[in-house]
């Protein structure tokens, strides 16, 4: 079966949602499968009729009626899910959740926000949703709450009580109320085991929708300005034997919040759906960073194809360029060599270097999509000129 995994090669916000929506609109898709992150994802999709939704836990194929499966790698937030579902008209019939997925609780969220607050001006750019805190808690607590617990009231209560006592004084709702709403989530959402995913994969083409971007990967990003999530294709490979790797990039580079951003520039590129977040900080823009994106392709293990979004932007922004090398203390630097896997010391050193790097060679191509394809050494199969799936163009040899 020709499954496809959609991964952002930058710092997120390249347009995974709109690409997933377009894939689901162009041919039958059995399910959209989420394989990382959680409720902090924000994938904006606009229908041709003008309806807009910021997808977080529901997959970006929902407007096309495509079911969503939240795999065991997703951190599930029943509270945010309720609000998102309501905005979509409660399409719970389109949702299945792996019972092994971790549950984000109000205490995790409060701890996440307290930690970011303590960092003051050194904030990491967290979304404040407690996803990282949930992952961290699970590493040190074998009995961390998981989705299947919502089907067993006694176990759910015990595990939530353990979280509450671990975080102690942090403000949250009373335990009883949290237990009640998590149980209500369990009554409404289909909780499945791991064999369900295998069935989906056999039934027909599935789209794996990534959250965030490779340059924010917990092991490969610019430590410590990263996410507690594997944003490369690694999780997809753990779930599915064979799939096409589709990398998404936009014609300029963006990032939320703190962290190195070599090509950042005062470009006039207003953003429809990304504002300044209380927890994330400002939305930053810059020239297309081919150096960092080539690194992303390399650490992701290569891509089979690319989707290039925001192709309507270069015409509106004459200053926009592609940066093909950095200037680091007078030396030219055109490749970031990946360090040993899971070596955060190395990544932190890299962050220090990147903070000193400046854009080196800048160019303005005639054909942006083709040039980006050349630089990242993969064919461009999808060009996007606007937010709707009708603004997308599939090029020959897509699949």
């Amino acid at each position: 079966m020709n499954h496809v995994a959609v991964v952002d090669l930058g710092y997120g916000d390249a347009g995974k949602g709109t690409v997933v929506d377009a894939l689901c609109a162009s041919e039958p898709v059995t399910a959209v499968i989420r394989f990382n992150g959680g409720a902090q994802a924000a994938h904006n999709v606009v229908t041709p009729e003008g309806r807009h939704h910021t997808f977080a836990q529901f997959g970006s194929g929902t407007f096309q009626g495509v079911p969503t499966h939240l795999s065991r790698f997703v951190v599930v937030d029943p509270l945010a899910l309720a609000a998102e579902a309501a905005a979509l008209g409660n399409p719970f019939h389109l949702l299945t959740v792996d019972g092994d997925a971790l549950l984000a609780t109000p205490w995790h969220r409060a701890a996440n926000q307290a930690r970011e607050r303590q960092r003051g001006s050194g904030r990491h750019g967290s979304c404040g949703m407690g996803v990282g805190e949930t992952m961290a808690y699970a590493l040190s607590h074998a009995d961390a709450p998981r989705v299947s617990d919502v089907l067993s009231p006694a176990r759910l209560r015990a595990r939530l009580a353990e979280v509450e006592s671990c975080y102690g004084r942090l403000p949250s709702a009373p335990l009883d109320d949290v237990v009640e709403v998590f149980a209500a989530f369990g009554r409404l959402v289909s909780v499945v085991d791991s064999s369900y995913l295998d069935g989906l994969l056999q039934r027909g083409r599935c789209v794996f929708e990534g959250a965030q971007g490779v340059l924010l990967d917990e092991w490969r990003g610019w430590h410590p300005y990263t996410t507690w999530s594997t944003t490369t294709f690694d999780n997809v490979a753990a779930l599915c034997a064979s799939f096409e790797r589709l990398g998404v990039v936009r014609t300029y580079t963006t990032r939320h919040g703190a962290g190195p951003f070599v090509t950042e520039a005062p470009l006039d590129l207003p953003e429809a759906h990304n504002g300044v977040g209380e927890w994330q900080g400002s939305f930053r823009v810059g020239h297309f960073d081919a150096v960092a994106h080539r690194y992303a392709v390399e650490v992701a293990g290569g891509v089979d194809a690319l989707a290039v979004t925001h192709l309507d932007s270069p015409a509106r922004c004459p200053q926009l360029r592609i940066c093909t090398s950095y200037d680091l203390d007078g030396a030219r630097w055109d490749r970031i060599v990946p360090g040993p896997f899971q070596d955060l010391g190395h990544q932190a050193g890299l962050t220090a270097l990147l903070n000193r790097a400046r854009p080196g060679d800048l160019e303005r191509p005639g054909d942006w999509a083709a040039r980006i394809g050349d630089l990242l050494d993969a064919p461009v199969v999808l060009e996007s000129h606007g937010p709707r799936h009708t603004d997308k163009r599939f090029l020959a040899g897509v699949r």
């Binding site: 902090q40 994802a41 009729e49 807009h52 910021t54 969220r109 709702a173 709403v181 409404l188 990032r255």
Partner: protein, 322 residues
């Protein structure tokens, strides 16, 4: 990357899961309810409040009250499905700081059982619950008047706004309907539906003058409604509210219209920028909204919103509190 866009409030989540368990979005009304839901009953409520908080230090109160009488046809149901998007529209582009939204419904106090329903100011999707609880009575009298003046009375005397009291910034009141107000606020109706004792009637002009101390008032007439586009009715409202009368061709554009009106008044945008934003969101409402708001936005950049003098001097023209 990402956002905290969706509410993580435990109680609204619980309500949403309850709501999703096989019930209509208008379950309360559709269940045959013929009195105001306790959460929306204006009787003896004291004050509906819009308060600043740590999370929302600069609240901007926005009230949207719509006519639910029969002449409005299916309009209230369309509004109930559209209005939940309002908060997102306001916040995404920063048209208003910390918006607090209240929903309510207006009927005819001379013949309806539920002529006035007023929710709370909310800054998250709890406001959707209020929408779901509104009784769509579908009554009304057929005399081309509804009790808009009674709603104005409530909004003037039973609402307390931090934006006004702390910063001298008025809130926004949008009334969506298709008929005229009665010419007076009647003491008997106020007693029956709000619980206050009035010694004498208040003319609608005096009521509006008083209400304007705390709200910018707009009247939106959907042309799809019964008397939609009626020149006499529009003319009457223009006489009362001047250019704050908006004729709206396409009800689907109601959220965009309200959001842009607020954005214009807050001077966050001019009309062109607002319409460009709509295009950028992929909204198809641009033409309708542009047409509807042309009298408000055209050629003047933004509507100036005058801060009120908080010095305590009596506001001329207003009806003093009885």
């Amino acid at each position: 990357m990402g956002s905290g866009h969706w509410s993580t409030n435990v109680y609204s989540a619980a309500a949403n899961y309850r709501a999703a368990t096989g019930k209509s979005a208008f379950a309360y009304s559709d269940s045959g309810a013929r009195k105001a839901h306790a959460a929306l009953d204006p009787m003896n409520v004291g004050k509906r409040e819009s308060r600043d908080s740590d999370e929302h230090p600069q609240s901007t109160p926005i009230a949207v009250l719509f006519d639910v009488t029969g002449s409005m046809g299916s309009v209230p149901r369309v509004l109930q499905t559209k209005l939940p998007q309002l908060l997102g529209l306001l916040t995404r582009k920063g048209y208003a700081t910390d918006p607090h939204i209240m929903f309510g419904a207006i009927g005819d106090a001379t013949c309806d059982k539920v002529p006035l329903q007023i929710g709370q100011f909310e800054s998250d999707n709890r406001m959707d619950e209020d929408l779901a609880r509104i009784v769509l009575e579908g009554g009304g009298g057929g005399q081309r008047r509804e009790s808009y003046e009674l709603a104005m009375y409530f909004m003037a005397r039973h609402v307390s706004l931090d934006s006004m009291e702390k910063r001298g910034r008025r809130g926004y009141l949008f009334i969506i309907g298709d008929e005229m107000p009665y010419t007076q606020v009647k003491p008997k109706e106020v007693k029956t539906f709000v619980g206050d004792r009035l010694n004498e009637p208040i003319t609608v002009e005096a009521m509006i003058a008083e209400l304007r101390r705390s709200f910018e008032i707009y009247y939106i007439m959907p042309t799809a409604a019964g008397w939609g586009g009626d020149a006499e009715i529009l003319g009457y409202w223009r006489q009362l509210l001047g250019q704050h009368v908006i004729a709206l061709d396409d009800l689907d554009a109601v959220c965009e219209t309200i959001a842009l009106t607020v954005g214009l008044a807050e001077e966050s945008i001019d009309l062109d920028a607002g319409l460009a934003d709509l295009a950028e969101f992929g909204s198809a409402a641009g033409d309708t909204v542009g047409k509807a708001l042309a009298p408000i936005g055209a050629g003047r950049g933004a509507v100036v919103r005058s801060p009120l003098d908080l010095g305590g001097a009596a506001t001329p023209g207003g009806n003093e509190r009885l």
